[in-house]
Amino acid sequence: MLDSIIKAYNEAVFETDKDAAFAVVNDALAQGVSAEDMVFKVVIPAVEVMMSRITQDPDANLAQHFMTAQIAAEVTEKMLPMFRSPPEIIGRAVIGTASGDLHSLGKRIVMGCLKSMMVDVIDLGVNVPAERFVDEAVRLDARVIAISAMMVHTATGEQGCRKVRQLLRERGLEDRIRLVVGGAPYRFDPELYKSVGADAWASDGISAGKVIVDLMKQVRPS
């Protein structure tokens, strides 16, 4: 039964049809599928399928990235209260757009994926000063700071990722907090993340979920 649910759900996500995806979820619940199975055996694998399709399918597109993340986040949010016991959270991340940058789409896609992957992700909003990224990461005991920048000057500027790296170094936080970036400038120049002091980058919002989870595993808990 689960196989047909997975197939129908993946098809709905691939077609960016949120109503159809929720219809699959509701039917599955009515058939007795548990909320835990819906998240761990349907939703998260669907995100992973999309990660794979992004690199292999020439017709994978921005609309699919967006809807994959949205549907995953909304289904997970609906399922969590039905869990028999609270799920184990992998870790916490803070996310925002770089200082001077008001483009929020990439951040939203990443957040949607992370929520479905059991990462506690805190949205710091847009145009976030470097100090705030670090202060909030410390206050919330986050293991990853994720910075989205869609313009070259916000990706490379002195008040963005470079400043966050400088603050992490000055405050002795580099062992505790990893720094990841994403956004168009990094796609056009895959070496750019190194020059701004990031530990990693992701080429798209869906892949960013995996990159961030991998980074969390490198960090020793405080």
Binding site: K18, A63, L102, V152, T154, P185, F188
Partner: protein, 342 residues
């Protein structure tokens, strides 16, 4: 030959001494004039002067009447732009904050009477008088399918496009299309001879093939219904759109295609052939850290991929301000050298 004649020769396949060479230095004009971005973009005289000086310094072919992309949102009521002295201005206040605002959105019957047009007109008048007879004078017009991004942000536009009420989406698109059509006519009337039709949502990496057919094409047809295709350029930001070029040529009649930097130039040229113009574009973000030698090598590769048989232009994206001057010079020196015809 003048740069305008060289461009015309490239489009029509006539002999010319070299490729047309486009270099998009926009925000650099403020630095050139010693002004903040906000002050620079406040006056059409400044933008025109910045364009003329940058072109004179480097010798490339075209000038721009474009201030910044958010200027189009100002024509629909946006009055808050976030300026940065090291980069491109952003729209800071969206005209459409919730879906109810769509009904309140008004497109003037004559956008040239809108105060936001005044400085654009001033800039165009100066550029037309100074170089309009000899150089490509470019204008930038966003397609209806993409204009909502400037009015409500990408997130809200995707929500509406992918899952919102169809009647509301279409109402917004109709208004955007009306603005697009007015802008195309107004820029042409004011002397622009190259109209860059910016349509990232007219590319499959944005919307996929199915939605390209059902959404992008119908709205682009509306945008361009009755519009003279001369000087019209299909541009999808920095996105690759080789897979729709044939259809855009066949059904929309746009014959000039400004590729993304990751596009396969030879493939694009094999599609466009001698019917129009293939514009090969350098990845100008890499120009930030490349050496002049690496820059030259990439220009050489692009020219080699597209130059044979003509119908080819060398171009850039929106050059970031971080690019060292030595690399701008190296890129253009190489373009003039490798773009020469025997």
């Amino acid at each position: 030959m003048t740069p305008l004649e060289i461009l015309t020769a490239a489009v029509t396949g006539q002999p010319a001494p070299r490729l047309p060479i486009f270099c998009n230095l926009l925000d650099q004009g403020a630095r050139e004039l010693g002004l903040s971005q906000k002050d620079y973009y406040a006056r059409g005289e400044h933008v025109a002067e910045g364009q003329l000086r940058m072109r004179a310094r480097y010798g490339y072919d075209q000038v721009w009447s474009l201030f910044y992309v958010g200027k189009e949102a100002e024509l629909l009521g946006c009055n808050d732009i976030l300026f940065a002295d090291n980069g491109t201005p952003n729209v800071a206040d969206f005209v459409i904050k919730d879906w109810d605002d769509i009904a309140r959105l008004e497109v003037s019957d004559d956008i040239t009477a809108h105060p936001a047009w005044d400085e654009i007109a001033t800039c165009l008048n100066i550029l037309r008088d100074e170089v309009g007879a000899t150089h490509p004078l470019c204008a930038y017009v966003t397609a209806a399918n993409t204009l909502p991004v400037l009015l409500m942000g990408m997130e809200k536009w995707l929500e509406l496009l992918l899952g919102g009420p169809a009647d509301l989406r279409d109402e917004l698109l109709r208004k955007c299309s009306d603005l697009t059509r007015q802008q195309l006519a107004a820029y042409r009337a004011a002397g622009a001879n190259v109209l860059v039709y910016s349509t990232p949502f007219g590319s499959t990496p944005f919307v996929g093939h199915k939605r390209f057919q059902t959404f992008s094409m119908p709205w682009m047809r509306r945008d361009l219904d009755g519009v003279d295709r001369a000087g019209l350029v299909y541009y999808c930001g920095m996105t690759d759109f080789n897979d729709v070029i044939a259809q855009v040529m066949g059904e929309l009649g746009i014959m000039v295609h400004y590729l993304g930097p990751s596009a396969d130039i030879a493939q694009a040229k094999s599609i466009i052939g001698d019917q129009g113009l293939t514009c090969g574009v350098i990845d100008d973000i890499k120009l930030i850290h490349w050496t002049p030698e690496e820059t030259r090598a990439e220009v050489r590769r692009i020219c080699a991929a597209g130059k044979a048989g003509g119908h080819f232009l060398f171009g850039t994206g929106v050059m970031p301000m971080d690019i060292p001057e030595a690399n701008i010079q190296a890129m253009l020196d190489a373009a003039f050298e490798y773009g020469r015809y025997p």
